[in-house]
Symmetry: D2
Subunit: 488 residues, 4 copies
Amino acid sequence: MAIRTAEDYRASLRDGRRVYIMGEKVEDVTTHPVLGPTVDTVAGGYELCASKDPAIRDLYVASHPVSGEPISRYYVTPRTSQDLINRSMMIRRSIELVGSLPFGRDIGTDCLNAAFVVAGQMGNQQYQDRALAFLDYLRHNDLITCGAVTDVKGDRSREPANQKHPDYYLHVVDRNADGIVVKGAKAHITSAPVVNEVVVLPTRQMRENEADYAVAFAVPANAQGVTFIARGGRGDWTDHEFHPTARVGTLTEGMIIFDNVFVPWERVFMCGEWQYSMLLAYTFATFHRFTAISYKIPLVECAAGCAVAMARYNGLEKVSHIRNKLADIAAYVETLKALTNAAAREPVMYGDIAVPNPLITNMGKLHFASKYHSFIQLIQDIGGGIIGTAPDRRDWEHPDLHDYLEHYLGGSAQFSTLDRMKMIHETMRQVCSHDSAFHEVITVHAEGSMEAQKMMILAEAPLKRYEEMAQRRAGILPWIGIDGVAEG
Amino acid sequence: MAIRTAEDYRASLRDGRRVYIMGEKVEDVTTHPVLGPTVDTVAGGYELCASKDPAIRDLYVASHPVSGEPISRYYVTPRTSQDLINRSMMIRRSIELVGSLPFGRDIGTDCLNAAFVVAGQMGNQQYQDRALAFLDYLRHNDLITCGAVTDVKGDRSREPANQKHPDYYLHVVDRNADGIVVKGAKAHITSAPVVNEVVVLPTRQMRENEADYAVAFAVPANAQGVTFIARGGRGDWTDHEFHPTARVGTLTEGMIIFDNVFVPWERVFMCGEWQYSMLLAYTFATFHRFTAISYKIPLVECAAGCAVAMARYNGLEKVSHIRNKLADIAAYVETLKALTNAAAREPVMYGDIAVPNPLITNMGKLHFASKYHSFIQLIQDIGGGIIGTAPDRRDWEHPDLHDYLEHYLGGSAQFSTLDRMKMIHETMRQVCSHDSAFHEVITVHAEGSMEAQKMMILAEAPLKRYEEMAQRRAGILPWIGIDGVAEG
Amino acid sequence: MAIRTAEDYRASLRDGRRVYIMGEKVEDVTTHPVLGPTVDTVAGGYELCASKDPAIRDLYVASHPVSGEPISRYYVTPRTSQDLINRSMMIRRSIELVGSLPFGRDIGTDCLNAAFVVAGQMGNQQYQDRALAFLDYLRHNDLITCGAVTDVKGDRSREPANQKHPDYYLHVVDRNADGIVVKGAKAHITSAPVVNEVVVLPTRQMRENEADYAVAFAVPANAQGVTFIARGGRGDWTDHEFHPTARVGTLTEGMIIFDNVFVPWERVFMCGEWQYSMLLAYTFATFHRFTAISYKIPLVECAAGCAVAMARYNGLEKVSHIRNKLADIAAYVETLKALTNAAAREPVMYGDIAVPNPLITNMGKLHFASKYHSFIQLIQDIGGGIIGTAPDRRDWEHPDLHDYLEHYLGGSAQFSTLDRMKMIHETMRQVCSHDSAFHEVITVHAEGSMEAQKMMILAEAPLKRYEEMAQRRAGILPWIGIDGVAEG
Amino acid sequence: MAIRTAEDYRASLRDGRRVYIMGEKVEDVTTHPVLGPTVDTVAGGYELCASKDPAIRDLYVASHPVSGEPISRYYVTPRTSQDLINRSMMIRRSIELVGSLPFGRDIGTDCLNAAFVVAGQMGNQQYQDRALAFLDYLRHNDLITCGAVTDVKGDRSREPANQKHPDYYLHVVDRNADGIVVKGAKAHITSAPVVNEVVVLPTRQMRENEADYAVAFAVPANAQGVTFIARGGRGDWTDHEFHPTARVGTLTEGMIIFDNVFVPWERVFMCGEWQYSMLLAYTFATFHRFTAISYKIPLVECAAGCAVAMARYNGLEKVSHIRNKLADIAAYVETLKALTNAAAREPVMYGDIAVPNPLITNMGKLHFASKYHSFIQLIQDIGGGIIGTAPDRRDWEHPDLHDYLEHYLGGSAQFSTLDRMKMIHETMRQVCSHDSAFHEVITVHAEGSMEAQKMMILAEAPLKRYEEMAQRRAGILPWIGIDGVAEG
């Protein structure tokens, strides 16, 4: 088959999966008021593969490396710097074109690519074959995946094996000739209730006594024992706001409960090899943070655009301190972009798989996360108090009020009051809404905390090189001089 | 009369005022789903005056300086450092006891105190008498006020007299023997639709050609030509959340349209004295920023409490980087507190009126505003991703889900999962909600922007002293040495 | 006697003490090219007591609380907020009048005041009596002290008793009826080689197996077995620079080696009470950080003055971004001042001893230390590249060059080129010299690291109060409402 | 000829040039105690071309694009990304191998490359030919250049033509058939007194009435009327310190006075074309900031190495807050490196000249400069107070003191006290010396201030793109959707 339509995708979600949201069981996720828009967003990824613009289509559709059949380009395992750049561009452009990220295949393959790397490092041909077979299954049926990695964790200061009960981290509770049985819960899983396949990895390094926790596998979303509990919405579009026509999607996260779920061996990619759990978590994190810094780019560009626009609509674009703030905003956005591109241009090869540069990727993510709140503060500052207290669309349209608002809410005479109102409302959405607050939280936590990024930076940076340079200067190590050999 | 009941207050709001919200006219603000909670919050201020705890009652009720009748202590014009401390404590405690700030009398008297200072500096006995008469009217009838200061401003780079139309700043359009007629609109006015009297000041320094804009006065909320347009709510409490019993109030802001409103002379406190507009704006800003840093204290204490609690509920309170973050959080909160107290302890006297120290007040406000987003980021960091994606109360109560959630959402074994859920929900409200995003915006804009605070810091700081110290060291000015006289 | 002259003080230093600097033994510290200026600086403290200006004299001279004889006011143990303010003002003013801090009595009494507090908490009358007798000895003979607290520490990750050898922390190696014998080394001790008495405290909390390390005492500077190793100078004044006439002092630090030094029991203030070592270190830190934030004030004022002056000499004082930077500079300086005053105004009483507020003191110190480098960066930014590369005084006076420099190094036409040159040189000294780099280091380390301040902030801040406020809102604890009692 | 020896270079400096330093005229710069080390550093650049290591030699020696003769690779005008990477690597490696940057050819060609770009944009063949002829002269004679760009500027708030006198910016005072006569002074010119040729550019955009200031040219260092006034040293190596054998060079800056200097037309590259002065200043700034971020890399790596080493020597490398700081240090260094590489990999082409990406280059420079002081603070923090107060080498060697120091100044038992002492001394040089303070100043000012970088970031960043993205979302512009065309 390969390359489904958006309707194929929607139909595939009506498969008996067990989904709850806001205290209610959902019969059909595609029509649910909160989950439906998430389905639409993910469906946008299918629509891109059928775009009338060949340049867009070519970005999203590739050829199967063996059969040549058209497949989603997400299912091309990266071999080159260009593959990584393509991957980043797919992610970025999709937000621009769909209005939100059709999240799923990216993280699913972040998981799967990491599984390939680790199977290669293990030298475990069986795991490699299984992962490739699963990938080909995804390619051929053009399926959507999510990545279930973060466990619920219980007491954060305790190891998986040392908790009040053993289930705070997902683990194997039984195994037989056919497969394994797993128990546990994964949290914050984006797109979870609307995918076809759930790919599961351990969230951290496991130790010898935690071998049962070192497990990676995939199961279909409607597998027996799998329950999704989705979080509620974050204030969706209403007619109180000014942009009803633009396609502005959303995504949903969910917990996934694995209540003694059976997984056949052909879908198991790690089981017990605790020594490799670190490499798996680490490689996944690198791929996934590269995905993250890619999808953040259009999001922060758009938020930055609100600042640029509001500065102009307020008549402030030539004021010195505003220009200073716009420069800070631009430097924030473009440093993220430069680091993302650099991570793709300086990959690390594991066998024939190109992994985005782990050091640069983590620095990019840390740059994004550690300075995001200051970035938002700058936009709020430029926007003005009106982005907190603006009247709404129905006020604007009310005959008693319209002329007042038209008269009094103008800004720079170059722009209509209506356009200023629209931009105020967009800026509200970007920096003064439930959604914007939620984005702050995921900035800090999604794809790992800043502490996790610092840990990887410390592991990857050439500290030894720095130290030796200092030791040579200090006279502790010999100087290596002009002729390239140790002196004195 | 003096000291009304909460019911008296509510009754006084059914006076024919013209209020709109979300495109609808409001017949009775006390029963409106968004405005009603604001009324309840403000009514809390009346309830405090009738508290069964004498210590609380004594904090909020004072004696009229002449008649001795009981009056709201807000209506005591500050003469001493202790008066300022009382004022700060009234504000702080009310948030703790009522659950939200009964905002109104504070800013109303911030305006009125500034008017007294300026009338004194002008040597204008008539203005002083009028302001005092108005204060006694408020005292005797125990009325609620708001302060209408911020104009809508149009093109921010243009002066009031140099805009597309003259109405972007409120101004006098006519005057006669009985009074003046004013036109304009004030924005972001907290509590506006639920007060008895609106006190109006100019928002900035005016120049000679802007004398009509240098106008200060008071009008009743139901005055002819006054229209309130309130902003919509920010996601009020639902049964999806976990704290139905606590009294958690809210406030509402609104635009106020003045459509050729008549003001009798006895309510006019400045009219045309543009030379004093700067002093008026400046003194108001000082009083009001002192109010601000007072009411921010319990708000940031409570948010800090979420971080402390979540660290413990997550089992992280002994982890080094978490402790470091908690220390940063505490230093942020307590520096605000120390500066607020210091501003009260080192007042500047204008005649017999004690003005909070302008330099320290502005530094306190700038400290609060410039570091608030980093403070929130720390809380979000400690809280964990669960504060973005937690299931809601109805999930918790659903028979299919309850046991899963009880089992999987535990944290430190010292606490019940239910308590952790409650704290997660409170933390969501504090740092991951429409409300929390709104607080970021008002942090930046309410009571003036950070640029405004820097301008006042620059005006108040002893730059000349610094410079002379450097010039003495540099040998440009003579050294003043041990004997206290210039040397060399 | 009481109140010596500067000459008395100088004479007292010729007592056979064992001092080394830059690889040479010093026969007379008063005439040494590096140590002499330190002696002059400390002597300035004696000169202040003899100032011809009675206001200055009264600040530095007090009456003995019992005998009434004139004594240095540093030797008044603080009982009130005013005593603490006096103490802060003595420190600040002395830098303005002497040109540098006559450091010694401040830290000596920081130690002794802490010893009084701890002896009181122990209820150990003997220690109290000894400390008082020692204080009276200092008062009567008007002696200079230093405080020897920081040990050399060896491997920082190991406890005192768990090092390569036992001497990385000073400890008791013998004891008999007459006294104790101590061994160890103290580092970074300011003014050490030029004092009369060395007061020694433990640098940290000690545990049960470290009782020998829990020792506090005083010895004269020329005691048998005491050796001072002073660090070299930091580039003293030469005729290459422009301010030969101003009195600009300096200070010196030194290691003190205690090579089996005998201390009679009457000079021992703690010996073995490891349970109180924490309180002693903690109380000393509070007193001493209060001293620190006091003496930092005139130093940062003067550095700020260079920025103000250079902005004007460069013609930049009206430029928007420069004004913004000056506001940041002023806020930095004045926040330090406000917190210092607040620490004195809100003391904590231990018996009848007023201890500066520990929370505010530590916040003041952390404010100072954590933002100092940014403050210096702002001054360097405003100063211009010329503060790095300016010609020197001899260039200015060279006949071939003078006219060129006069012509080309002018700035704003309001000032002479000579004055600009002088201010450039002063700014170099403040922010582009060996001395300025050294100040950055002591900003971070003197009076304890930022980590130490954060630890104390965490210990002192009302975290429990924050948490309960959040728990009440969350519905975990009952709400305490308007009537001051738990509800619901 | 091409490719001189270091001795040829030294000999060429004895040419009658007029150099002053610290109030004295210098007869031979090669033997002067301050200037001699600068000559040695620059000579290192010649030694690299004669390295016995072919890989090093090949990095520094290229073939003349026409004649094929060996030339310095600095004199290859960049055509490709690889040329820019080579340029960056030459700069970085030279610091590692020579111990300091042989500064001169880099900035000289930064100027000349900018001149080529501008001549091309003007379409002025004559200027192009002259610049090429001059470049070939440099290539053939293997000469050292400096770039004289920054004027002394007088009152910074006034334009060149609007100052107290016309000479605060260098300008043409006469012209005839043979050439032009210029007057003015350039400040902070690195390596100036030790180069062969001085290349001069305007420091800023000039306006129509400032055409005489729009002048670019080259003159030999011994030209009639040229005087160099070098700044004094910054505390060179003495036997008080621990690293006498390592080759640690230095550089010198100087003012250059142009006292009616004649320049023949064949050395004039711009004269009066004020419309292009902006492009010239801007393009030079881009090339030169790329040079800057390249040479900063090994400098900050080495400083970072002191932190890594001191953490280990102090026994602190496993402590959580130290690791956190090391991660911050590494992220600072490696972000600089990643941005520098990215600027080379994404060049902007002007004709066939590859200009480093201006946006990324300026972000790299701003990253470096704005966070440098925090970086230094972290190193000082990790280093400990001992980096301010350590005894010196002669103390170490003194028989009275050696055993004390050996005993007491040990750190982690893994390292000898001597190695720790050496590393302490190196760290002092890096972060607690006249030199380190000077580096802070040039961080802020060299290659343009942070304000200048922000201005260029604002000019280069795609603000319009951001704004349109926001406008599309807001419904102000039509949405461009999945089919790549405007919708609705």
